[in-house]
Symmetry: C2
Subunit: 418 residues, 2 copies
């Protein structure tokens, strides 16, 4: 069979110029998150298929790249379903693997545990421009802390990082699943319908208040409930202090302390902000993943028309592995989106030192070449990046190419070099 030059459909080769930006951003992520006390960890890229298909991953579970059983365990001619031939799969996020990791290793980890993960995930999405089937995710999570200090640290760390990357004026939207549910309960929706209601609510920024009201009615929800629900959102828009309004309105419906906690989180993150951004309570923020149990948040950037980071509290997932609930809260930045924005902006990685290219005449005697190499050694030890290369026939073109790679200085060495 002929060999194919192209990468696997939907995946991409990364060229040196992009790789420089990625390495720079990865370095900044490590430095920033470590300064907040997060520990870098890693899990394997594959997980047992039962863990990936445990309904924790929502829609992503439909997109798993599955791995074939091997050796004696594989019987293809008799196989009827995927389950007969598959034993593991590629991870589609870093949250399910982290929960398994914590269950497996918690005895050796501090409590609470602050984890930083950077790694590839795989999703067999329909290939489209700018979206790939292998992409990097970058998550921070705090496990074992039920207090709102977890949310504050996650938001402070993430906004600090975005600031260091040169972004400002972005918007951190904040909500709580318990408030979402209380607003639905107050309006008279049945608990079994919440998910459907929230899917429609999630369209607010596209179809507006009237659109949401219309779609709720079309889906057969009672007029009373829809009216009360939309009334809440309308009044929230007018309220001078929307959290105070809800605290009063939902008294007895939402658990005590939930709204006070939100106020603490918003106040603390604002007061210690290290770059310019807005942090707002957004009662229409839903976040797709069904595993969220408390606060949910998302960072939006105008220049992108989309989200560059998202996260929330998922206090019940680790219990699925251990049988014992562990509070957990995480924030994931859209690494690939950030790289795309930086590349489009023409972002230049700050150079840490000079770059020189040595061009050597072909056929140079070995004794002379040693002298050139000794020179290169000396300069490299002094922190200079030195490329040693044979001189091409078209020296001018060679230099132009090397200039594109950032080589600003050239030295030419001929056979008579002393």
């Amino acid at each position: 069979m002929a060999l194919s030059k192209k990468p696997v459909t939907g995946m991409k080769d990364i060229l040196p110029a992009e790789m420089q930006v990625r390495d720079y951003v990865i370095g900044l992520i490590q430095e920033t998150y470590k300064s907040f006390g997060f520990s870098h960890i890693e899990t394997p890229c594959m997980e047992n298929i039962s863990n990936l298909s445990s309904k924790q991953g929502g829609e992503n579970e439909k997109l798993i790249f599955k791995v074939l059983k091997r050796g004696e365990k594989l019987h293809i001619p008799e196989a009827q379903t995927e389950a007969d031939v598959v034993d593991c799969g590629m991870r589609y996020d870093l949250t399910v693997p982290l929960s398994r990791y914590y269950s497996n290793n918690s005895a050796q980890l501090p409590a609470p545990f602050k984890a930083l993960q950077m790694g590839n995930v795989w999703r067999a999405d329909r290939p489209q421009r700018g979206r790939f089937r292998q992409f990097m995710q970058c998550d921070i999570d705090i496990l074992g802390d039920a207090s709102c200090l977890a949310e504050i640290e996650l938001m402070s760390a993430t906004t600090t990082l975005l600031g260091k990357l040169g972004f400002s004026g972005f918007k951190v939207c904040f909500n709580d699943r318990r408030v979402l549910k209380a607003m639905a309960a107050y309006s008279g929706f049945a608990e079994k319908d919440y998910d459907q209601v929230f899917i429609i609510l999630d369209k607010m920024d596209k179809i507006g208040m009237e659109g949401v009201a219309a779609e709720l009615s079309e889906n057969g929800f009672a007029g009373d409930a829809v009216e009360t629900y939309m009334g809440l959102f309308a009044e929230l828009e007018q309220a001078p202090d929307s959290l105070a309004y809800l605290e009063k309105k939902l008294d007895g419906v939402v658990a005590g302390g939930v709204i006070a906690g939100m106020r603490t989180i918003i106040g603390s993150v604002r007061a210690t902000a290290s770059c310019e951004f807005s942090l707002v309570f957004d009662p229409t923020l839903v976040r797709g993943m069904s595993y969220y149990t408390g606060s949910i948040f998302e960072i939006k950037m105008e220049e992108l028309g989309g989200s560059v980071a998202g996260g929330g509290r998922y206090d019940e997932m680790i219990g699925k592995f251990t049988g014992m609930d562990t509070p957990a809260c995480g924030f994931s930045i859209g690494f690939e989106r950030i790289i795309t924005i930086l590349m489009e902006k023409g972002f230049q990685v700050p150079q840490s030192g000079a770059r020189k290219a040595y061009l050597i005449e072909k056929g140079m005697p070995a004794e002379t070449m040693v002298k050139v190499l000794a020179e290169a050694k000396k300069e490299r030890e002094a922190g200079i990046q030195v490329l040693v290369s044979n001189m091409n026939k078209n020296k001018k073109f060679q230099k132009e190419q090397l200039q594109k790679e950032g080589y600003g200085e050239f030295r030419e060495f001929y056979k008579d070099f002393q």
Copy 2:
């Protein structure tokens, strides 16, 4: 189905202590190889199955983790063989993907191209202590340079790196497939038998000269050939200058310039060494991969009883993709082995700054917590790693745990903090 806490068989979770060492080594690899002008690149972790099964990968092709086709392309009940249900697989090395990458992108890359790759590879090996089914490889390759400058730069860069990691006294063994073949030809072995002869020769350090001679005879090779062959090795051991001996002996059998090139490589690398090691011509060095076409090399460390790095020239692989031969030479370090040695040695990562842990009394009012967080912000901006955590009931145990994580200083904040 119950969720499993363990990672996939043969793969491992990486704890924070090991991850610190890995991150440190990765940083040093990048810094060192970049100073030699290598550009960091990345390919997807999956490749089309036809590329992985092209006989370039030798024995590793038997160990591929294969990925199931998805959606409409998959028909399990009718499938008879793996080929019916599989379209790609996990890479088992970084060399086949690099060749594909170069074929796909060479128009956008400088010539020659010096590539640095660090990434996971997967092999469904029989699980055993210290060997994993997912592991990191770290390769440097020079593409488009047929001269021995490529070998010199690869060896200098790799030995410089090992020196920076604190290793010394290691042994770089060096040979050339063309010398290996010429010695076999000179002895009268048929070309079709070379691979079998080399597999037996490869056992020299385990079974010795007599063992090799006996096994060659047992395998039915002519007594004359075996005798001549073993005679060459015996005389090489005695020769004061083994390359000069071979140059004379193999005159007309080995291509002109091959041995002179080896002498240049050995001389140049020795003369510009940046740490203490020995570099020797080893006529028994074989290296398993059939794709090697010229020089081959391997670094051995006494304290390991094994190889920590290996590589060679593979001038014909890229032509399999492009139809046009491109000279290529690479060196791969055994990243996981190096990490294992460092961990066993109790290697401590040099700390770049102080680490402080702030412990906060539970129930602290929001206004007070903001003051503590502002304090943390100030210290973080000054380059200190600050962990902010709620105070646990058992404060003494909490501090002991944090000390293990490298936190040397503690600050306690109570509700009355001003």
